[in-house]
Amino acid sequence: MSDTASIAPLKKTPLHAAHVGLGARMVGYGGWDMPVEYSGITAEHLAVRSAAGLFDVSHMGQIELAGPNALAAVQHIVTNDAAKLKDGQAQYSALTTPEGTFVDDVLVYRFAERHYLLVVNASNIDKDYAWIAKHAPEVGEVAIVNSSARYALIAVQGPKAIGIVQKLTAVDLASMKYYWFAHGEVAGVRATVSRTGYTGEDGFEIFVPPQFATQLWNALLAAGTPDGLVPAGLGARDTLRLEATMRLYGNDMDEHSTVMECDLGWIVGWNKTEFIGRDVLVRQKAEGVARKIVGFEVLDRAIARHGHAVHHEGAAVGVVTSGTHTPFLKKAIGMAYVPTALTAPGTEFTIDIRGRMARAIVVPMPFYKRPRS
């Protein structure tokens, strides 16, 4: 996680004052002034694994497509098969270039047959909107709206999340399946509740109008504190998502890495006859890729981080995309792009950590999988 250099002043989410009031350490991230930690990354990380964490992810963007051609437009610009979605269902997908690389990774929500909402990364909102505005109309007229300012987004994540959110809503959460969503009221606020997240735990992401964000945040804190819920910042969000090997745009994927290199073939609708980047991805699926992302553990006492070079038999062969010391597994883990020949679990390579070569070993992903009840 690095600060984004920018001349523009940092933007503030509707919950900025709440974070400052809670004593959060604030940092610039993707153009936003965001809480990186409150009580500490380790404590917040462990709270999410054992109880629950409350995250402000209002910096994320929303872009909506509507009209008779909305589905065709979505199908054209993203990799996954949005035709499989029913009303109230969401899907992980990729917005791709003709080269099969990532413009962004996105969640596609089907609000209605002719209305889709894409949740996009904060730092990519303007780029994505411009990309979609250019390419979506290639299949016909479609309304495209950047509605990012209309939503605050609060995530409640962890095994206790369902009990906590259920205290505040009549929406039946137990019957809501993973990657489904519903509209309703939460703490008296008009909301869309989605059973999604970026932590590897069960949990919910709640979309509300920005003017009601603080009301909902405080209600969730009050309802969850007895169950062990704590506010959690971007620091814990990063270590949690990495344990679950969820990719981070700008670290693990970008316009120079393809969906297949990123080992995300499962978000490609292979039965679709057309989408931007399909030819490259179909070819890479058939022929394989020269390099691929892998998960690794550092064997020596050191932490590999984004940008460190991977070495094998004396030559630099790859690069670390994400790395940290994880509070739950208590070891240094990470992801890296390496030649396909080095991707089998058990393969060893070294990582240049500030001039010192540390040994690492390829391990299966994900590092952490939550126990299913």
């Binding site: 380790t42 620091g235 050191a302 932490i303 500030r354």
Partner: protein, 123 residues
């Protein structure tokens, strides 16, 4: 917050002086900035330090930082217990020493800050 028997640097180390020896750790402010410490890399006994130069690294979940020598001298002891308990830097920063140094130039001590002065610096 900052014990008066210790001296401090602008790089957020503390020094406990005993005759011609100094014991070095990092301050409460430093550990707070770092967050949860997971590794501390220290020099070997016998390493010669130059005032203001890095003598080790400290790594937290968030980031890696260098440790800067508060004074010139020779490392005479290293706290090897930090290998297994790096988190003691967070829980008891002013009681968790890193290295003991035989002073090369006692004059280096005059550049160190007193507790009130250091506390002002951290605000």
């Amino acid at each position: 917050m900052y014990p008066s028997h210790l001296k401090y640097t602008k790089d957020h180390e503390w020094v406990s002086v005993d005759g011609d020896h100094g014991t070095v750790g990092i301050t409460h402010f430093a550990q707070q900035q770092l967050g949860d410490v997971v590794y501390v890399e220290l020099p070997e006994i016998g390493t010669v330090l130059t005032v203001g130069q890095p003598f080790g690294t400290i790594e937290s979940v968030k980031a890696v930082s260098e440790l800067f020598a508060p004074m010139s001298g020779t490392v005479v002891d290293v706290n090897t217990a930090l290998k297994d308990r790096p988190d003691s830097v967070n829980s008891a920063p002013h009681d968790t020493w890193m290295i003991k140094v035989k002073l090369g130039d006692p004059g280096d001590l005059s550049a160190l800050l007193g507790a009130p002065e250091y506390e002002t610096l951290t605000h």
